[in-house]
């Protein structure tokens, strides 16, 4: 234990350094630690599920390239059946997505997406998306840099 200072003794630089080294107690130290570990847990959980979700979507997309479910069609009739006896809002939503689904299926069936993917517009769109992702990745890495 360091001796106490008296009036005739002056503080030295070392004494100031020793004061900096004195541990400080916080009443909420445990709460703080729990908060940090929970945030880490949440971040890890989100990251893992993002990977799982991306893998699932990619897997479904890849599977869709090879497999066609017999008699499976996203058309208005099926959705109308599904939405029978439901309220108007749900019916309107189903009709909207039914219409969009029909367009997508029509394009997929006709092979129109292949010709769209060969246009300069698609290339430009892909390029812009890549640059945006790279930019975001760079910004994130700068933010997280030590």
């Amino acid at each position: 234990m360091k001796p106490e200072k008296t009036n005739d003794q002056e503080f030295t630089d070392r004494d100031i350094g020793d004061m900096f080294a004195i541990p400080v107690h916080y009443d909420d130290a445990d709460v703080f630690a729990v908060r940090v570990t929970r945030k880490l847990q949440m971040r890890n959980w989100l990251r893992q599920w993002l990977v799982v979700l991306a893998g699932f979507i990619g897997g479904v997309y890849a599977l869709a390239q090879f497999v066609r479910v017999p008699d499976w069609k996203l058309d208005g009739e099926m959705l109308s059946r599904a939405t029978a006896d439901t309220d108007q809002t749900l019916r309107a939503g189903a009709e909207f997505f039914g219409g969009a689904g029909r367009d997508v299926m029509r394009m997929a069936d006709s092979g129109g997406y292949l010709s769209f993917m060969q246009t300069p517009a698609f290339f430009a769109l892909s390029f812009v998306l890549c640059v945006m992702i790279l930019g975001l990745y760079y910004a994130y890495s700068q933010e997280e840099a030590l």
């Binding site: 234990m1 360091k2 106490e4 200072k5 008296t6 009036n7 005739d8 003794q9 002056e10 503080f11 630089d13 100031i16 350094g17 020793d18 004061m19 900096f20 004195i22 541990p23 400080v24 107690h25 916080y26 009443d27 909420d28 130290a29 445990d30 703080f32 630690a33 729990v34 908060r35 940090v36 570990t37 929970r38 945030k39 880490l40 847990q41 971040r43 890890n44 997280e144 030590l146």
Partner: protein
């Protein structure tokens, strides 16, 4: 394995062992490091000049960044020093926007009544502890002396981090120490190196 503050066994491990365990995927090891060094980090940021809530947020961020970059810790110094360096850089990045205020070399704004013995400051003021004394310093002096004594950064490192000349850093630290000695030193007889209570 879930994150939890499991104090069994982990409390007996050294920082080095805990870091190794955390790297190997034992999350309880990092939880113990957080419990062990969280307060130190919060104090360090407050002493640099951060408001209490900002300091806590930044300490949290620094700990999470440290977890992400645990593989980059080279065991070439105390783990606390590494954490403080991360936290300091994050805080400096934040205050850099206010550089003109915090890191200004123009001291005119602080000259009047800023020195402990000036008339503008109550002559009888003496700090009850280091934190109170630091609160009486100019922001840039406070930051330099804290980075030097608490952050274990050399004068040159501080000059590099703050992007100010080495000579300026030295004079800030010298002036800060002189002020702290006046505030904490001769006139007080009850300054004891006891546990400081600054719980929020």
């Amino acid at each position: 394995m879930a994150f939890s503050i499991d104090k069994s066994d982990m409390t007996r491990q050294s920082d080095v062992d805990l870091v190794r365990l955390a790297r190997a995927g034992t999350r309880e090891a990092f939880a113990e490091l957080v419990r062990r060094h969280g307060s130190v980090l919060r104090t360090h940021l407050r002493r640099m000049g951060a408001q209490a809530s900002d300091a806590d947020d930044m300490a949290q961020e620094a700990l999470m960044v440290a977890y992400e970059h645990l593989a980059e810790y080279r065991f070439d110094g105390p783990f606390t020093a590494w954490l403080k360096k991360i936290a300091s850089r994050r805080y400096l990045k934040k205050v850099r926007k206010d550089t003109r205020y915090v890191l200004s070399e123009d001291m005119s704004a602080y000259e009047a009544g800023s020195a402990p013995n000036d008339a503008g400051l109550d002559g009888d003021f003496r700090a009850h502890n280091l934190d109170a004394a630091l609160g009486r310093l100019k922001p840039v002096e406070r930051m330099c002396v804290t980075l030097n004594f608490s952050g274990d950064l050399s004068h040159q490192d501080i000059a590099d981090e703050l992007k100010i000349p080495l000579g300026t850093v030295k004079s800030h630290i010298r002036r800060a120490l002189d002020h702290l000695k006046v505030l904490l030193g001769p006139a007080r007889t009850d300054v004891k190196p006891a546990l400081l209570e600054t719980g929020s």
